[in-house]
Amino acid sequence: MTAVRVAGVGLTHFGTHPDRTGRDLFAEASQRALADAGVERRAIEGLNYGNFMGELAEHQGHQGPLMAEAAGIDAPATRYESACASSGVALREAVKDVRNGESDVLLVGGAERMNNLGTAGTTEALAIAADDLYEVRAGMTFPAAYALMARSYFEQYGGSREDLAEIAVKNHANALDNEHAQFQREISVEEALDSPMVAEPLGLFDACPITDGASAVVLVSDEYAEKNDLDAPVAITGTGQGGDKMALQDREFLARTPAAERAAEEAYADAGIEATDVAAAEVHDCFTIAEVLALEALGFYAPGEGIGAAARGETTRDGDLPINLSGGLKAKGHPVGATGTSQVAEMTRLLRGDHPNSDAVDGDVGVAHNAGGTVASATVHVLEVVS
């Protein structure tokens, strides 16, 4: 089986760009990724593209061919949708395609335009990732769903809003030098705790912002990289995906995420690594509590032990296991369909040494954790420096 190399990565600025169309955002990200890869457009054999709410935000379905056109490639293109894990699943399918010899060069990415809907419109749109009958019609918003999980976590294991605020502070600090990040500014615990409530116990600074942006990566087979003399030192060596019941009320656990646990187990086994081999991780912190649940699902902490990790300095830039050195969804931003591949793009830069925070990574193994909805779907990918 061939290894799958990340030949190039590209991101737009993540932020408030309500006037920019999805196709323009993806055109920029894909152009950057192709330039970074040094791969010609005509070599691209297919596009796997993630997008969540294009019908609602842009009245645009059938986005695969539209985005291939925007990227300037003449190849089959398919859109993948798995809520906030849309480009995570798009990536996983591309990895499998390269491995099984179906393709040698694939473009993978995602885009989301959100700010044109405003806060109320975005809140309504994001809610479609939940069960319409039994959750949305009961008034559950996306922040409310994570608030239900946060309170359940506090009840079972303890923890406080201060612990969560430390996660937001950490991720903002990490984003300071990241030119792609929505918030390149530090915040304090006090500022986070004083922010307005969105869904108790979660406040505004527990939540990722509403973000417009796109991301793209170029995947190639080992053979293609060698034959074309590409500089592609990072490989995706493990992929995993897990699922859970759609509605929180139907889950076995309200304060654990078994879908991500299963994705991690599969990805680690695939790569032949253990959780203790990981030097850094990009995890899906759509809300601060989600980072805690991710740390535990990835096996870095036992259930109930992840809550104080940021406060104890273990997951900060200088800690033993830096988490979300990009700034995470919280500070880098969360253009939903673009997030999965943006995490892989950022981890690639972190590992190969051209990210502003690369010096904080002490090791060759990184992990990217992407979650859909309240983690009814999840993907985990292992990235390693292989040459």
């Binding site: 809140t123 008034g139 009320q249």
Partner: protein
């Protein structure tokens, strides 16, 4: 939600709300005793068919809740409101807490399921009253 929600029913789900309204709440039980909510053709936990309607316990316990301050447009005039996940044993239900100030809602409190109308649109919404 579609514009036709007022005219077109969602079989199973609307039957479930009707039953709660009539004080005859039920859930679906598979031969192995797993609980689920309609519409279902097979048990979501084990895949068995042959689901039967079983009476929902009269009351349940609040397992977790949140107070929503930033609602979707359909609930704009309802906010702030408390939404809870309530444990009835074989199934849990999600709905709004009525008759209790949001700040006085507590995990572990005993509640009974009812159907209310939202302040914003008048749509039916699953809700709970303290027992």
């Amino acid at each position: 939600m579609s514009q036709n929600d007022d005219e077109v029913r969602d079989d199973g789900f609307d039957d479930f709300l009707d039953a709660i309204e009539d004080g005859e709440g039920f859930y679906l039980e598979c031969p192995d005793g797993h609980g689920s909510l309609p519409p279902r053709r097979v048990c979501p936990h084990c895949g068995q068919g042959d689901l039967s309607e079983v009476a929902l316990p009269e009351s349940g316990e609040i397992e977790t809740f949140t107070v929503v301050h930033v609602p979707a447009p359909e609930f704009a005039d309802d906010a702030p409101y408390a939404t809870a996940v309530v444990d009835f044993g074989p199934v849990r239900l999600t709905g709004q807490i009525l008759d209790v100030a949001p700040e006085e809602t507590e995990v572990g409190a005993t509640v009974t399921p009812v159907v209310a109308e939202t302040a914003t649109t008048g749509e039916r919404v699953l809700a709970f009253r303290p027992r």
